[in-house]
């Protein structure tokens, strides 16, 4: 049975997924990307192969995606946008909109009933509302990134963050601290602002799939989406792996090779 790999070399993390011909996920991994895209992509592929304990390594077809997609050896590069559409359609099998909140950019992709990508949007040259934004806020408030979520979740109140710029948000936070607001309320406001930035990109009509590292590591963001949209978004297993899964599926189908 054939084995197929997808590698998503993102700005913060590199993700890899290995699937078989039945589209079953055999293994996956998430690594820090660092500064060497080629090296991390090789490490990610080796890791999923080793985890799945498969042989005939050299013959595994690979599709790569993410910012480092062109630097993954022996791989066919595809954009994250196409891979997200493919990965999310695998789960839903009908028309929907997939929202990916990544380390440095956000994407909204409309997927048609037959799985084709209808349109897409990306954020501007600004990391507000992305994983980098949350990392900056954690640094600014001197709170470990992993503690952010539980602090925000238990906050009885929240502050309103109006700025659409990370730097301006930090200025706003100084104002809230001076006003006596507590860190949990500020954090809750920051999470809400992540969702607001997405809702400013697109009206998010129809079924919504959420993906990306922010969704994987900060489940509160999904809850806020649910509150704002008035309906439940679908979150796949391993939302951070959705692009890599889409790449692996493309590898299997080899439906479009850019040569």
């Amino acid at each position: 049975m054939g084995i197929f790999a997808g590698v998503d070399i993102g700005s913060s993390y590199t993700k890899a997924v290995l699937i078989n011909q039945a589209k079953k996920v055999l293994s996956s991994c998430v690594l820090n990307t660092g500064a060497d895209f080629e090296r991390v992509s090789k490490r990610a592929v080796s890791k999923v192969i080793s985890q799945a304990k498969v042989s005939a390594v050299s013959s595994i077809p690979i599709f790569s995606t993410g910012v480092g997609r062109n630097l993954c050896p022996k791989a066919n590069p595809m954009t994250e946008i196409s891979c997200l559409a493919r990965g999310s359609f695998h789960y839903l099998g009908r028309a929907h909109v997939v929202v990916d909140i990544g380390g440095q950019d956000n994407k909204v992709v409309a997927v048609g009933a037959a799985g084709s990508q209808v349109s897409f949007k990306m954020n501007r040259k600004c990391a507000a509302g992305t994983g980098a934004f949350l990392e900056e806020i954690a640094r600014r408030l001197d709170i470990p990134l992993k503690k952010m979520e539980s602090m925000a979740r238990h906050s009885p109140d929240k502050v309103d963050i109006g700025s659409y710029c990370t730097v301006f948000t930090c200025t706003e936070i100084v104002h809230h601290i001076r006003e006596g607001k507590k860190a949990p309320a500020i954090l809750r406001g920051c999470y809400e602002s992540v969702v607001k930035r997405i809702l400013e990109m697109d009206p998010l009509e129809g079924e919504i799939v959420l993906a990306g590292g922010v969704i994987a590591n900060h489940p509160i963001v999904t809850e806020i989406f649910q509150e704002k949209l008035g309906r439940s978004p679908f979150v796949p297993d391993g939302p951070q792996l959705l692009g890599a899964l889409g790449a692996a599926l493309m590898s299997l189908e080899n439906s479009y090779v850019r040569t």
Binding site: V67, M78, T79, E80, I81, S82, D105, A114, S116, Q117, V118, S119, F120, K121, M122, R124, K125, S255, Y256, R258
Partner: protein, 411 residues
Amino acid sequence: MTQTRLARSTQKLKTLMKDYYQELDEASRSHSRKVAWCTSAGPVEILTAMGFAVYFPENHGALLGARRLATPLIGKANAQGYSPDICSYLTSDIGAYLGNETALGAAYGVRGIPKPDVLVYNTSQCREVQDWFSFYAREFKVPSLGVFSPWKITELSRANIADVAGQLKDLAVQLSRVSGSPLDPERLKETVRLSSQASNLWKHFLETAKRKPSPITFFDATIHMAPIVVMRGGQRACDYYRDLVKETEDLIVSGAPAVAGERLRFYWEGMPNWGKLRFFSDLFENLKACVVASTYCLSWVFEELDCDNPFESLAQANLRVFINRDERYKEDYLAGITRDYQIDAILFHEAKTCPYNTNTRFGLPQRLQAERSIASAVLYGDLCDLRCFSEEQSRTVVEALAEQIMAGRRV
């Protein structure tokens, strides 16, 4: 890029532009002719007919952008109170003036920008030119004269045309006080005739891209458009474009496409990103995609020009330009172009500092998608300010759009 394919014309263009700038330099230094600074929307024909040597600061802004000199110069203008949010042609040009720098020296061997005797602008393509020229009016203590065009017109009315034609006639009277002699109506007719001829040849050149595969790209057009901007109304522009059309037709006969294996055809909406033309040209070529047409280059096709009716036809030419029209007109225009040039998708360039030449801000791409099934994507950037641009994001947007179209063909 593909300059080598149009090598004869590219070589002629270098000489032509060098001569043009050296004549301006000579006029400025020797005072042999009065120098007028003019906006790209004109009214260059009136100035040419009155014997002015005409200089275009917008061309200087584009040159600063193309040579990647603009970004640090923009900061100099910002420091003097000219916001980073206003036109970066303006801020890079004023920044260059403040720093006593110019791109003209390295490009054309002249010592500096020509000193103006008068500044003339038209607001039909941009409303910030008035403030741009008022800076130089204060610096050089020369008059700044404006033609104010009604904006975002749906249907052009007789009153609109009469309004602008009247302003152009008044302008000619004011200019005669600078030039020392009145406008000769016969010279104006001849200038408009030549301008019309150059415009028709320019149109012919651009329309060769309707062929599939296209013999030219948007990037070729941005290189060869300089004479239609700065020399229309003179014989040289006509001669140049006649030769360029011939050379392009030779390319068609020889069967040499602009992009080998062309499989995707895009339309560029909005301003060029002057400092990234090479990046985009290479990106499209790698995808076997050809940007076959653009609003920007088509904006210098002035089909209304009529030498028997010079003022009214100049008014019409200025008012009818795409950028001066309402959203409904723009939708119809883009739908027509998409059909005529067999375009797969539109790339909207959202230029941070150029709201007037940016058409993503009032839902136009979404309406084209929803009502006319025209696919598009938005590229964020700027005409000159490279601080507003991300290569990586732009690459992803273009590649994702290419993948979307190719995947759609297989369904």
